[in-house]
């Protein structure tokens, strides 16, 4: 009888262990979607930064530490976008936590060639970290997530690979659609608030000629706004793209003065209405730019 009970207990334990999901916390909502896409029903995913928040400035909340406390993986953008992450990781007191840096195999833009200091504003020393807004870079992110999920659960490797393939297929199809929409717009000049869209514009052949911020992370000044308006007029810039979390007062005034259109662009999944997943997010940005060009 005792042996039977013991066997049952072991079997029940194994069954429970078999059903246990890999707990993943991501910094951004976009990464949560990618992780869910690869991990499928083998993962339980949560994220820290809501799409409507600026990921550069996140308050160190104990509730974030609690989320990481029982996680297997913490998936991050890296390149010091999540400069706040080490305190949350330390506060989680999770000895088994694996921190995943998705930027490992991404071709980085705007990597400083000189020593970075605060006179340059908030320049990221490892380059511009907004690489997830180029859909082609999502493939490198998915691969990094896959590699780390396999580390935690090698038995599910094939399942994860097949999920990744399916997502990539969908991504390729959408990419063709976006390229088709954007190809007539090659060389279109625009101004954005921050350097959030460097990878996006590079992919679609657009050109950012200036920023509302005089330097990354530094609020706009009247003199810089005047210079920017002059630059926009002389370069024929008709679009000011504004990230979802910035105030529109100054960019709106700049757009009016330069005879341009102010459009809201989105940097993260869920940041605006109609950006519930990554495909909708890129759809939103592509269509906003296409309509702005047509309208002007």
């Amino acid at each position: 009888m005792k042996k039977l009970m013991l066997t049952l207990t072991i079997l029940l334990g194994l069954a429970a262990a078999g059903e246990a999901k890999i707990k993943v916390v991501t910094s951004l909502s976009d990464l949560a979607e990618f992780t869910k896409a690869v991990g499928g029903d083998k993962v339980e995913v949560d994220f820290l930064v809501r799409g409507s928040q600026n990921p550069h400035y996140i308050e160190i909340k104990p509730s974030y530490m609690l989320k990481l406390k029982s996680a297997n993986l913490f998936v991050t953008i890296g390149m010091q976008l999540e400069i706040w992450a080490p305190q949350i990781i330390d506060g989680s007191r999770n000895p088994i936590l694996i921190v995943v840096d998705c930027s490992k195999n991404v071709k980085k833009l705007e990597v400083p060639s000189v020593k970075v200091d605060a006179s340059m504003g908030d320049v990221h020393p490892f380059g511009n970290p907004h690489y997830w807004l180029d859909p082609e870079n999502v493939k490198a992110i998915l691969q990094e997530i896959l590699d780390n999920l396999v580390k935690v659960s090698p038995a599910d490797a094939e399942y994860f690979k097949s999920n990744l393939k399916a997502y990539m297929k969908k991504l390729d199809a959408k990419m063709a659609e976006w390229m088709l929409l954007m190809s007539p717009l090659k060389g279109t000049k625009l101004v954005t608030y921050h350097t959030s869209f460097s990878y996006f514009v590079e992919r679609f052949g657009l050109s950012v000629v200036g920023y509302v911020e005089p330097k990354p992370g530094i609020p706009p000044t009247p003199s810089h706004s005047t210079e920017l308006i002059q630059l926009m007029r002389s370069s024929g810039v008709k679009i000011v793209g504004l990230e979802q979390y910035y105030e529109d007062n100054t960019p709106g005034q700049i757009a009016i003065a330069a005879g341009a259109r102010l459009i809201r662009l989105c940097t993260s999944v869920g940041g605006m209405d109609g950006t519930g997943d990554y495909f909708q997010l890129i759809d939103h940005n592509v269509r906003a730019i296409v309509s702005a060009v047509k309208g002007s």
């Binding site: 308050e59 104990p62 509730s63 530490m65 029982s70 706040w84 979390y245 105030e247």
Partner: protein, 381 residues
């Protein structure tokens, strides 16, 4: 030949140095400098004869140097050196401690060194992170100007209270020399010098602890509640003990990136035995004393660069229930470029009500300027 050898040696030396330099760069601690400057005037100097604001005094309030780094995969160290004023004031070790973050059972974190104890909400926070310029009266009178800042060992653990409620318990054993005795004859206007040194010949350890709970109320609002206790010897001659208990809360509502409202308060309760009388033969009779104080502050950020707030203070003395002080302050914060530079303007009105004495009111206006260099980490919620 010699020139070639020299060139070759130089090349080898430079090549050999590159990885060393890189390694040193990555191993260097993070160094930050945070000076606080203050321009202040008050009308207390001429009282009670005349109420005239003094000539504004411009001074270095404090110069803080923070050196922070991991020391190995399991622990990090934080050192804060501070110097008040631009004169001959000594450089003091404000804090110097190592925190063992990993490798201990049940997720235990252990801190060893000299540090600000986890007591109440404000004690651990450096003044540059306060929204106001002055320490609340209750904390100044009961904990002293430096707060509970002592040599000690601290252990903290997260309690299993589910996936939503964050609960942390911290217990400290402190050397006790910053929290031993208050000179009752101290200047009443300033609230006394706080907690001075014990007898150097004898050490009286103190113990403190805090239970902190953090609860997200909604996507945009959070609540933190804390309960703290501290006990130690306040009279090293008669070996008389004091007990402090403290409740604190902080509510934050942040509906957007540039709008937030923080409501924060602390109530401190003091219980201690005191010598009531001494007879001719040296016999002493003791009395129990209970007193307390509290503050309540609100701070509204209404744009990216501006915030405005107010605070109300009320406090008795650690040694008397009839020695009271009451005050209010309004303050404005201006943060022109992120958090690397801050200007704060504060008007404060304080009434000192000594037992049997004349009530005195003091008004002060102060402008503070803070800048920060280096990667000093953001302060937690």
């Amino acid at each position: 030949m010699i020139t070639n050898r020299l060139k070759a040696f130089t090349l080898v030396f430079v090549c050999a140095c590159i990885p060393i330099l890189n390694a040193q760069t990555s191993l260097n601690p993070e160094i930050s400098v945070l000076p606080r400057f203050r321009l202040e005037s008050d009308d207390g100097g001429q009282l009670p004869a005349r109420r005239i604001f003094s000539r504004p005094e411009f001074r270095i309030e404090e110069f803080e140097l923070a050196i922070q780094s991991y020391i190995n995969p399991y622990a990090r160290a934080d050192v804060f050196l501070a110097k008040a004023g631009a004169g001959d004031e000594p450089i003091e070790i404000e804090e110097a401690y190592a925190t063992f973050l990993r490798g201990l059972p049940i997720g235990l974190n252990v801190r060893i060194g000299k540090y600000l104890a986890d007591f109440g909400k404000l004690n651990m926070l450096h003044p540059h992170a306060w929204p106001f310029l002055s320490k609340p009266l209750s904390l100044e009178r009961f904990l002293g100007e430096e707060g509970i800042n002592d040599l000690g060992i601290s252990a903290s653990v997260l309690l299993p209270t589910g996936d939503v409620l964050y609960t942390r318990l911290t217990i400290d054993v402190l050397r006790g020399n910053s929290i031993s005795t208050i000179d009752p004859a101290a200047d009443l206007r300033s609230g006394g010098p706080g907690l001075s040194d014990t007898l150097s010949s004898e050490i009286f350890y103190a113990n403190s602890g805090r239970l902190m709970m953090f609860l997200p109320l909604s996507e945009n609002s959070d609540l933190e509640i804390g309960v703290s206790g501290l006990t130690g010897i306040h009279d090293p001659y008669a070996k008389l003990r004091f007990y402090y208990s403290n409740i604190d809360f902080k509510y934050k509502w942040k509906p957007s990136a540039y709008t937030s409202f923080v409501l924060q308060g602390e109530g401190l309760f003091n219980s201690r035995k005191m010598i009531a009388d001494t007879d001719a033969r040296g016999g002493r009779s003791l009395q129990n004393l209970s007193s307390g104080g509290f503050y309540l502050s609100g701070d509204l950020q209404f744009s990216k660069i501006f915030s405005i707030g107010a605070r109300y203070d009320w406090s008795q003395s650690p040694y008397s229930t009839t020695d009271k002080a009451e005050g209010g302050a309004v303050f404005i914060g201006f943060y022109p470029v992120e958090e690397t530079a801050a200007f704060r303007l504060q008007y404060q009105h304080t009434r000192w009500m000594p037992p049997g004495g004349e009530t005195r009111a003091v008004n002060s206006i102060a402008l503070q300027f803070i800048f920060s260099m280096g990667p000093h980490k953001a302060h937690p919620f």
